[in-house]
């Protein structure tokens, strides 16, 4: 292993996270962005004036256009690089290598990546005005929303590989179990056994309620600098060692495969770039909007044969003290899904673990972590390899 040369691409030097909650009252997205950005810049030990790059997500509601300018103005910063990253649940992960690219090109030195969302009681979140062709060719048949698309993928997996409901329920069980060590998690104090998952209401067959993320309000942010600049700062940096990304389709009907995903490319590309093997990972921080997404990610990562995630999972343990720590913050299935910031929670937890600051759930000697992000219906995905300074 000693002859491997990992080239740090950039480093995360600060993180911020708001505890997710079911509803906000009178909060604005911009206000929540400011709150979480402040937490991240404080964590980095920097002043806001240091921020000269800004990556934000698309905002369908309050600020549909000119999002970077609106956020910069609100925060009172004047970045030299601003952009919207629009990759659904993969937006947070997609931001990290884009920040690195902008820094390495010399556009800026310190990038704020930030996502937040409000959620008002009895008020539907705003919807994009034009969602064609899904609006035209899925919705009229009774297939509205993400649940139906993910149910179709899970059903295909079960029909093709004879995977069982019990195997999928195991993923939700572990998420809830790990969430018991995260006071911020929406399901803190609410563990769920495999039987509880199987007994939860069937929403869209074969998906049970406990296999589906709970939508919440929240926010997350991280600060990125060059690896060189990171070394001079006080906070222990966490390095981006490799990234891979792939987009294959939008609507589930147009997916090139129903059982393998663009993760197959993205994870292998990220590992190759980092020059590490999947077996070296100390943490798997895998995007989990539904149980079935974790299942196919494990398979596409090469940890087990296609269709065999269940057998593999029964042979391993997924807590912080297990042999394959997986989503130690509870994953989104245990933590809740604050819209796009839900995807970013997988990065925040990886940083905590690699900084050895995961109080009460610290993975011993954590050095390397795999983070994944997934948007639409396993349509647009990003994989990241993160490493502690000691690498």
């Amino acid at each position: 292993m000693s002859n491997k040369r990992r080239v740090p691409l950039c480093a995360i030097v600060g993180i911020g996270e708001m505890a997710p909650k079911r509803f906000t009252e009178g909060a604005t997205t911009l206000g929540m962005i400011a709150e979480v950005a402040k937490l991240a810049i404080q964590d980095a030990g920097l002043e806001k004036e240091a921020i000269d790059g800004l990556l934000v997500g698309p905002q369908v509601g309050e600020t549909p256009q000119h999002v970077p300018a609106t956020v910069a103005e609100y925060l009172g910063i004047q970045p030299k690089m601003g952009n919207v990253v629009d990759l659904g649940g993969s937006t947070g992960a997609g931001m990290l290598w884009r920040a690195a690219a902008a820094i390495n090109f010399g556009m800026c030195e310190t990038v704020l990546c930030v996502l937040a969302n409000t959620r008002e009681r009895d008020k539907l979140p705003p919807r994009s005005p034009n969602r064609n062709p899904i609006r035209e060719f899925d919705v009229p048949f009774g297939a509205s929303g993400a649940n139906t698309s993910y149910a179709l993928l899970k059903q295909r997996h079960m029909a093709e590989f004879s995977s069982t409901q019990e195997e999928f329920a195991l993923i939700a069980h572990w998420a809830r179990k790990n969430a018991q060590l995260n006071e911020k998690a929406i399901f803190y104090g609410k563990p769920a056994s495999v039987l509880d998952v199987l007994n939860s209401p069937m929403i869209v067959d074969p998906l049970h309620l406990y296999e589906i993320v709970m939508p919440v309000a929240g926010g997350a942010a991280f600060i990125v600098t060059s690896a060189k600049a990171a070394r001079s700062k006080g906070t222990p940096p966490v390095y981006l060692l490799g990234a891979g990304e792939k987009i294959t389709h939008r609507a589930v009907s147009q997916s090139p495969s129903l059982t393998t995903t663009p993760f197959k490319y993205a994870i292998s590309a990220a590992l190759d770039q980092a020059n590490v093997d999947i077996q070296e990972m100390d943490l798997l921080s895998l995007y989990d909007c539904y149980t079935s997404v974790v299942a196919v990610t494990l398979e596409d990562a090469g940890l087990c044969l296609p269709g065999k995630f269940g057998t593999w999972m029964k042979e391993h343990s997924f807590g912080y003290d297990g042999d394959w720590p997986l989503n130690t913050h509870g994953g989104q299935l245990g933590y809740g899904q604050p819209d796009l910031a839900g995807g970013m929670s997988h990065i925040i937890e990886a940083v905590r673990q690699l900084r050895h600051e995961a109080n009460g759930r610290q993975i011993p000697n954590a050095r390397l972590g795999l983070v994944t992000g997934n948007g639409a219906t396993l349509s647009e995905v990003t994989a990241l390899v993160l490493g502690a300074e000691s690498c």
Binding site: F137, F141, S144, T148, A151, I203, S253
Partner: protein, 140 residues
């Protein structure tokens, strides 16, 4: 059965000039798809350009209206409340004989005997005053 769907207050197709021939044909109980005159691939959903070769030389042709089931789901809690009255109902992905795959509503009594590759065929249904290409099992 017809009234069951026709009385639903559910969102219909948001057609464009490009997709209008598809829906016009469906209204006449005809199943038409685009075909690329250059690479000869069938195309669905309707587009201005062939996704295979980027030719804009697409023509409408009568298609078989037959295909095979790739996967399915029984919806208990619909994403749109207009569908609540007819729950549980089934949707599925149909791989059409011509190649492309489409989402549709499955007209079935039970999902117990559904398997991958089960043959299905188009069955026109009026839903909130618009004819839609639902699918039913092919009669063997």
């Amino acid at each position: 059965m017809l009234d069951k769907f026709n009385n639903l207050k559910v969102p219909g197709p948001t057609m464009t000039l490009i997709s209008k021939p598809f829906w016009d044909a469906v209204a006449k109980h005809e199943f038409q798809l685009q075909k690329c005159s250059d690479c000869h691939k069938w195309v669905f959903y309707p587009r201005g350009h062939c996704p295979e070769c980027w030719s804009d030389n697409l023509i409408w042709e009568i298609a078989s209206g037959k295909g095979r089931l790739k996967t399915w789901s029984v919806v208990h809690k619909p994403g749109h409340s207009g569908w609540d009255e007819v729950t549980p109902y089934a949707i599925g992905l149909i791989e059409l004989e011509e190649g492309p795959t489409m989402m549709s509503h499955l007209l079935i009594e039970s999902d117990e005997d559904l398997i991958i590759d089960l043959p299905f065929e188009v069955s026109y249904m009026k839903c909130n005053d618009v004819w839609l290409p639902f699918f039913k099992k092919q009669i063997s």
